[in-house]
Amino acid sequence: MAKVNLQIKTTDVNDKNQTTTISYANPNASDQVLKTFAQKIVALSTDMYRETNKIETTNLDTESSKTTATITLSSTSITKAALKTALSSKQPHTVSFTYSGDGVVYAYAKSNDISNFTAPNVSLSEGTWTLNLFNGVASNPNCYVACEIVLFAPETANYKAAQATFTITD
């Protein structure tokens, strides 16, 4: 994976040029997303935004031999209503997924309101997994929120990073 640094150039209140570097930007993020992010960072300061440079570095010795890994989900979304119905019988809603790499898969929920799902940064065992959504907490209305659950496998010596998203929709 290419390493991407953002070099953000600003001018401070004394009319001096300043440069801030943010390392390890997402190589897959669009230029517009990265530029907007840089502007949002500058908006927290008293500096004036001037420009953002995207600097990519690729190590040809370590990257060229890595294989693309994939995480495949048996389903990618469910509505809150369907989830509530499924859980009304106190049975967990399961989503199976497979991972083609040789690393560890983490599950992470993009909402603090669903800590009952599984703690962020939980690593799951190798092979084929079953993700239990809100098992045993069907009576808690706070669990029925729209959110995304990200399954993520970091890159390894042999495989590139992989990611898949399961969405609970309104």
Binding site: D12, N28, F37, K40, S45, P154, A161
Partner: protein, 79 residues
């Protein structure tokens, strides 16, 4: 000449990645009136777009865990 005292302020934004990696992003010359909702909005944008990744295992961005302003005072002695 008298001693010279300079003060610099830096915003320290602590972020967490889903693989447990952490990082601090420095914001030069932070405003005095930064609000929690601004940080929450930035956090949402970073989550939505996974703008930065962890440097250990390229972990997905998790959340901003803290934002604080650090003031550093430096005295240059007139010798």
């Amino acid at each position: 000449m008298a001693d010279t005292v300079t003060r610099t302020k830096t915003g320290k934004m602590s972020v967490l990645f889903v693989d447990g990696d952490t990082r601090i992003i420095n914001v030069k010359n932070p405003r005095n009136d930064i609000t929690a909702s601004e940080i929450a909005s930035l956090n949402a944008y970073m989550q939505e777009n996974n703008v930065i990744i962890g440097d250990r295992y390229s972990g997905t961005f998790g959340k901003i865990t803290e934002f604080k302003v650090v003031t550093k005072e430096q005295t240059k002695l007139d010798i």
